[in-house]
């Protein structure tokens, strides 16, 4: 599914990713853990095509298709979804309008018919209910004045509606209390499936108690320096990142 090979990327001329390689097969959830400054957020932005993140070498493909030459919206239409660490506030655009615009833009890009307003409302009502999101909140400007937990739930709601094929969760647990974390994790787990891959980026092991990864990778100094099963996360929790930071 996702295949990243020898990826080098720079921000403002400074190299952050230094030959990162990673394979996430369909149906699997991989966690990327690493110390601050290791390049975790850079990886998520490079994969989604944010301006200012310059790829200098290497490749990233989804099911064999090159991602790096595509615009952010084209990658989204191919099914790449980034759940932001800090979801943006969009003043003046009701959440419903935003999500419907996104869904229909993706469908147009894939040559699928747009969803009608009644179909869309039915879909949103069902998904919002599952995530315990008050429907009236969706009439308000997206994320404006929402709490940290509400913003994260809005991210999960968008995932549930857009049904991406590959998810990148960037520090999804930050700012969440334990109840919100459970709701968010349930939402993510509901999306696990044989055709879908996930990359869970996190500093702490805590999130991985709720979203259980198939593989864990340690990102340090811009490269994957160790990979293992779920037990690697527990080991990192006990021992910290020091030895990997030195290895990098």
């Amino acid at each position: 599914m996702l295949s990243v090979s020898n990826l080098h990327a720079a921000v403002d001329g400074k190299e952050i990713l230094k030959g990162l390689s990673l394979e996430v097969p369909a149906g699997e959830v991989h966690a990327i853990m690493g110390p601050n400054g290791a390049g975790k957020s850079t990886l998520s932005y490079v994969l989604t095509g944010r301006d200012g993140y310059e790829v200098t070498e290497g490749s990233a493909t989804l099911d064999g298709e090159d991602l790096l030459s595509l615009e952010p919206e084209e990658r989204a239409a191919k099914g790449v979804f980034l759940s932001f660490q800090y979801p943006l506030e969009i003043p003046g655009v009701p959440a419903l309008t935003f999500v419907r615009t996104a869904l229909n833009a993706q469908r147009r890009a894939r040559g699928e018919p747009e969803v009608t307003a009644p179909e869309f409302l039915k879909l949103v009502r069902a998904r919002a209910g599952e995530l315990k999101i008050d429907f009236d909140m969706l009439k308000r400007a997206l994320n404006v004045g929402f709490s940290g937990g509400e913003k994260k739930r809005m991210e999960i709601l968008q995932m549930a509606i857009l049904q991406p094929r590959f998810l990148i969760l960037d520090e999804t647990d930050s700012g969440l209390d334990i109840d919100a974390l459970k709701i968010v994790a349930d939402g993510v787990n509901a999306l696990r499936g044989p055709d879908r891959g996930m990359l869970v980026i996190t500093h702490y092991q805590r999130l991985l108690d709720y979203i259980k990864p198939d593989r864990v990778h340690v990102l340090a100094g811009g490269r994957i320096v160790a990979s293992g099963g779920p037990e690697l996360a527990l080991q990192l929790e006990r021992e910290g990142y020091d030895r990997y930071a030195r290895a990098a």
Binding site: E71, F81, V93, F98
Partner: protein
Amino acid sequence: MSVIASIRARDVAELPGKRDEDWRWTDLRGLIREAPEPSRPYSGDLPAGPFAGLAAEEVVIANGEGGAHVDVLPAQTRRLALRFVSQGDGGHAARASIAVEAGGTLVLLESYEGQGGYLGHAGLAISVGTGATLERIVLADDSGDGVTVSQAEVHLEPGARFVQTVLTSGARRQRLETHVRHPGGHAELRLDGVYLLSGKRHADLTTVVTHEGLDGATTQLAKGVVRDQARGVFQGRIVVAEGADRTDARMGHHALILSDRAEVDAKPELEIYADDVACAHGNTVGALDDEALFYARQRGIPEAEARALLTEAFVGEVIDRIGDEAARDVARAWVAGRLAGEG
């Protein structure tokens, strides 16, 4: 200096220019080198106006011909479309007076429409009585070659309510000016505006409010979007006279500049001579938020559509404040059309 005098006397020396402090960003003297001939009468069929079907009464002032004297009696509720239509390359001026007597209600749907390189002036005298309400919505879709100056003098009685939204796409040069004498006495005033400018168009929203009595309230929210080589001007002055205590005045002007060669000049001014007042103003000029743009694109919204969505939302805050639902729908559609048409 007077635009009307200049048109009537065919004397460009009468035009205000950059040496006049209040006109330094909207220089007519430097623009118009030769006084235009008087406009000929409007010829041909008149197209439907932007508020067609929204008002039972319609008054058309074409190339300065015609006029309006509208008097809304107590307890009357009326809707009036007032259209200033310009055609050709001549000069013309017109006057209209609108009085809403105590307890009356008027929705005034005013439009500026034009084709050609005209120089047009509209002068309005507006009065709103005690307990009366006037909602004035101005939609200015002038010709890109035309020059228009509209000047409204508004007189409020205590307890009156005057709310205004000016929407404009500019002109070769255009100034839409509103002066309000605010008596306090719980009279309520709102002076909103939107300018959406492209090409080489110019729009100037100038307002002057003078609070003369106790307990007056003024709110103002103006927003602009300029691109290409267009220029937006916002001059908002609120004067709180000595003794006009407990005045509450809030002014906001925010503009998006979407190209390197576009320009916005803003002068928010609060002149306060009273002791006990609550006044606030905010003024920002900037570009669209890159992070919000990336967020929208990451969700699959193409860049041009994402820009339009965010820009429309930016302007939408002003549109949402329009009280009259039908006019609000026209305004919203006009904004969407202007933003989409210009990509």
